[in-house]
């Protein structure tokens, strides 16, 4: 069942990516509807796939990096769809969709590890902690995409040239606002995610904070985003500066999300 859904999602996303690609390179709008149709189909299949997984394995797909990656791309696509209702996000789709497909391929290839579920772990907080963290990373991913598009658009405007392909980006103001909004949303979730992690840790290990690498890096990332938000609100950081910081923040969160567990030994499953 899961394999069929995975394959279907890959096909739908693939077709969508193809149509986005055609639209991007040929600059014709005809393929837009098809691109979104397949994206929507891909998203629905992807979501059902993850739900089926949750029921089959009695847990949220986030017990290892591969599962979490797939959940992350699914949520990012959801946010992407939301924003696309108002803004032309075609350029971002070119990057997002291959990553989404990669995440599902990995899920297909890497065998599911049946975790021994510790009774306390199953007891609630993990169901909050992991989804919150993943949704937060999804929001911050969108913030990152908007920041990148801001910088591309800004560079073109300053250089007074337009690239043949990157003509259709959201306006600077939209990039800025959306980057800011998804950043605030992501930060809010990140804060709650870390808090639930602390509570979970208390139940599981009896201590609130373990000084685990994952925890340390989460804190560093959180602090950077806190500084950025603070700067935005109080010192009116905007434009290039804000975009660079959002990108730096994303690099950190990516490292915390995926890199830390690959490099260091941590007690987090990833």
């Amino acid at each position: 069942m899961s394999h069929i859904l995975d394959s279907l999602a890959i096909i739908f996303y693939g077709l969508s990516a193809l149509y986005f690609g055609v639209r991007f390179f040929s600059k014709k709008d005809k393929t837009k509807t098809l691109a979104f149709l397949f994206l929507l189909l891909g998203f629905v299949t992807h979501t059902i796939d993850l739900l089926v997984f949750s029921f089959e394995h009695h847990r949220f797909p986030g017990s290892n990096l591969v599962e979490a990656f797939s959940a992350l791309t699914c949520l990012t696509v959801l946010l992407f769809l939301g924003i696309s209702r108002k803004e032309d996000m075609g350029a971002a789709a070119i990057v997002l969709l291959p990553l989404t497909i990669l995440s599902i391929v990995l899920k297909l290839v890497v065998p599911v590890q049946e975790e021994k579920i510790e009774p306390i772990v199953a007891a609630g907080w993990i169901y909050v902690h992991i989804p919150l963290m993943i949704l937060s990373v999804a929001a911050l991913t969108i913030s990152f995409f908007m920041a990148i598009m801001y910088l591309i658009q800004e560079r073109q405007l300053k250089a007074k040239t337009t690239s043949t392909y990157l003509e259709r980006l959201p306006s600077l103001q939209s990039c800025e606002e959306l980057s800011y909004r998804s950043l605030s949303f992501g930060f809010f979730l990140l804060t709650f995610g870390i808090l639930t992690g602390i509570i979970w840790s208390r139940y599981l290990r009896g201590v609130y904070w373990n000084w685990d690498y994952k925890e340390i890096w989460s804190l560093i990332t959180w602090a950077l985003y806190a500084v950025l938000l603070h700067g935005r609100i109080l010192s009116a950081w905007r434009g290039r500066k804000a975009a660079y910081l959002a990108i730096l923040g994303f690099v950190l969160i990516l490292f915390t999300f995926a890199g830390v567990s690959l490099i260091f030994k941590v007690y987090h499953s990833f």
Partner: protein, 417 residues
């Protein structure tokens, strides 16, 4: 099919001549009526860039001269003054020309969208005056269709090519929607007024006007429904403005980095788009390096406009192909509806049937006298002639209906032509 087009445009005639030939819209009906004696169907296009008469005539010989004389009579301009500037097309060439005009390939600014609307307007005037029937009706309908096709299949109208609309496009890239934004005009040039009109059309809410002579600022402000502000309060106004258009005659920079810096800190780094259309420039080019500040001078805008124009010309080549293909297809179809050949074909078709039947009958009946043979010949031929004769006028009527092309085709099928 005897279609003829005569006229002149911005490529063949100077503006003074085009102005004199231009018929105001409310005079077009009477001009069309005057054309009735020389043309079976007629339409006039009269815009500031072109003056053309499209006709269907019974006889092409001397048609150009007759129409040229008619123009001279209607506009009361001696023939020799405009005759060298005239071009004329007949048949498929005329159709292709009309398609090109409708698709905005023959426009001064290739791809500009107004021409199609203008043509539709002249088309409906001719319809009201009943100076067009089936043939020109189908030419025009097809021209509108081809124009639509060109628009959707090529990027001929993809990007703007005038400096002021390029400026507005850039503003849209920075701000997205321009609704509720504030623009600030320093100095008063024709270009600024033009840009302001574009901006207002896109929803810009507040317009501030400054000039070294306050009186001038007040006058312009009244004209464009803006607010005049004193020239000395520049920085305060900059802080309020999202878009700044400067076109003073100043020999030195009037807006420098420190002005922009102060304005930005007051407006909490909300971006400002500076448009400097003055020569020599009004705004220090260095400010383009600042974060959240965008500066375009007249050269930058012209470069973008020129680049867009080149893009359009590339797209125009694709459009020309579509027009050529479509006009050929249409011409073949239109020729088929030409009633003359159809009648003749029907006639010979029926006659052939008649001869064949006589032959068969003669064989069956055995030898007949010459007189009897003649009588038989006479009977059958008068019968078939009557049938053809009576359908002739009806066919002619059918062909002039809006869906004549389909009907004629049906009839041709009926007779297996």
């Amino acid at each position: 099919m005897l279609i003829h087009l005569i006229g002149l445009n911005h490529k063949t005639a100077p503006v003074e001549l085009r102005e004199r030939l231009n018929i105001p819209e409310d005079h077009i009906p009477s001009a069309l009526q005057k054309l009735k004696p020389v043309a079976a169907e007629a339409m006039i296009f009269s815009t500031c860039n072109r003056f053309e008469i499209l006709t269907r005539v019974e006889n092409l010989d001397g048609c150009k001269d007759r129409l040229a004389r008619m123009i001279s009579e209607i506009r009361e301009i001696p023939l020799h003054e405009f005759e060298p500037n005239l071009y004329s097309f007949t048949g498929s060439e005329a159709v292709r020309h009309v398609f090109r005009v409708a698709s905005s390939l023959d426009s001064l600014v290739v791809g500009e969208p107004q021409i199609l609307g203008q043509m539709k307007q002249f088309f409906s005037i001719a319809q009201q005056e009943q100076t067009i029937a089936f043939t020109l009706h189908s030419v025009m309908e097809r021209a509108f269709m081809v124009a639509k096709k060109v628009r959707s299949e090529t990027q001929i109208a993809g990007s703007h090519v005038s400096v002021s609309s390029v400026a507005v496009d850039l503003a849209a890239k920075i701000f997205g929607k321009l609704e509720g934004k504030t623009a600030f005009i320093i100095g008063a040039g024709e270009m600024s007024v033009l840009s302001i009109q574009h901006l207002q059309a896109r929803g810009v809410k507040m317009i501030l006007v400054a000039n070294r002579t306050f009186q001038k600022a007040a006058e312009l402000a009244e004209q464009i429904k803006g607010r005049a502000v004193p020239f000395e309060g520049l920085t305060a106004c900059l802080a309020e403005s999202d878009i700044v258009i400067s076109s003073t005659g100043s020999q030195t920079f009037i807006i420098r980095k420190e002005h922009a810096q102060r304005a930005l800190s007051i407006r909490r780094n909300k971006p400002i788009f500076f448009i400097d259309i003055a020569v020599p420039r009004d705004i220090d080019p260095q400010i383009n390096e600042m974060d959240n500040v965008f500066l375009y001078d007249i050269d930058d805008l012209t470069t973008v406009a020129e680049k867009n124009r080149q893009e359009r010309l590339k797209e125009a080549e694709k459009a020309e192909e579509i027009v050529s293909r479509e006009s050929e297809v249409f011409w073949t179809k239109l020729k088929a509806t030409d009633i003359g050949p159809t009648i003749r074909e029907i006639q010979s078709h029926i006659d052939e049937l008649r001869r064949h039947e006589i032959e068969v009958t003669l064989k069956k009946m055995g030898p007949l006298t010459d007189q009897q043979k003649q009588a038989l010949e006479h009977l059958t031929s008068s019968l078939t002639n009557k049938i053809v004769q009576s359908s002739y006028s009806e066919l002619r009527h059918l062909a002039n209906q809006p869906d004549g092309m389909e009907k004629i085709e049906l009839i041709r099928k009926l007779f297996r032509l």
